[in-house]
């Protein structure tokens, strides 16, 4: 019985290699996005038509073939448009990285589908904090 002498796997061995950015000449028809937070990922490698991210410099729509960019996001909605459906996720602060081969990563500390938000606590929170701000 031979012991397993292979070196242990590192996290890098589990990563799928990205298609190389320089050689991607034609613009792919769909954008591949990943929406992750430190404790979970909403999805990785989902093919969509467009993603709207709320960056601190304004709402940015990211379509396939978008220029590579990094933007800091402010707490607001990320909308994912796939065919005719739009799914919205509320994120607390985060970042959006767009790579030059139509792959976009949106990372945020909290990603909350809008169905999980309780409007009563939101309203109470707004009242409480505006009151604190005005005193």
């Amino acid at each position: 019985l031979v012991p397993n002498l292979d070196p242990p796997n590192t996290p890098l061995t589990f990563f799928q290699p990205r298609p190389s950015a320089a050689s991607a000449e034609p613009i792919p028809p769909k954008l591949t996005i990943k929406l992750v937070s430190p404790y979970s990922s909403q999805f990785s490698n989902k093919q969509v038509d467009m993603v709207t991210v709320p960056s601190t410099t304004g709402q940015t729509g990211i379509l396939p073939g978008h220029l590579a960019s990094i933007s800091e996001l402010k707490p607001s909605l990320v909308s994912i448009h796939e065919g005719n459906e739009v799914t919205n996720y509320f994120i607390s602060t985060g970042f959006a990285f767009v790579h030059s081969n139509s792959i976009a990563d949106v990372i945020a500390v909290e990603t909350v589908p809008t169905e999980h938000v309780d409007p009563v606590s939101v309203r109470n929170g707004i009242l409480e904090y505006t009151r604190k701000m005005n005193t």
Binding site: P75, E110, D118, V122
Partner: protein, 69 residues
């Protein structure tokens, strides 16, 4: 000389980006509906004890805990 580049509002309020981000995340967590809210609040609980070392000896540790003892 005037101070350098425009400072983000959280920096001028005396916070670092991490404190601002954690604050925002906390606010979002408190606005969730019930099962998700308790899930996320329990997930973020911290419990640690840290002590400073002076002259090769540890001083009294400070314990930070979100779980009731």
């Amino acid at each position: 000389m005037a101070s350098s580049a425009a400072v983000p509002f959280w920096r001028s309020a005396g916070m670092t980006y991490i404190t601002y981000s954690n604050l925002c995340a906390n606010l979002v967590r408190q606005c969730l509906k019930e099962p998700y809210k308790t899930e996320s609040l329990t997930r973020e609980k911290v419990h640690f004890s840290a002590s400073q070392w002076v002259d090769g000896k540890p001083e009294k540790p400070t314990t930070r805990s979100d779980s009731p003892e």
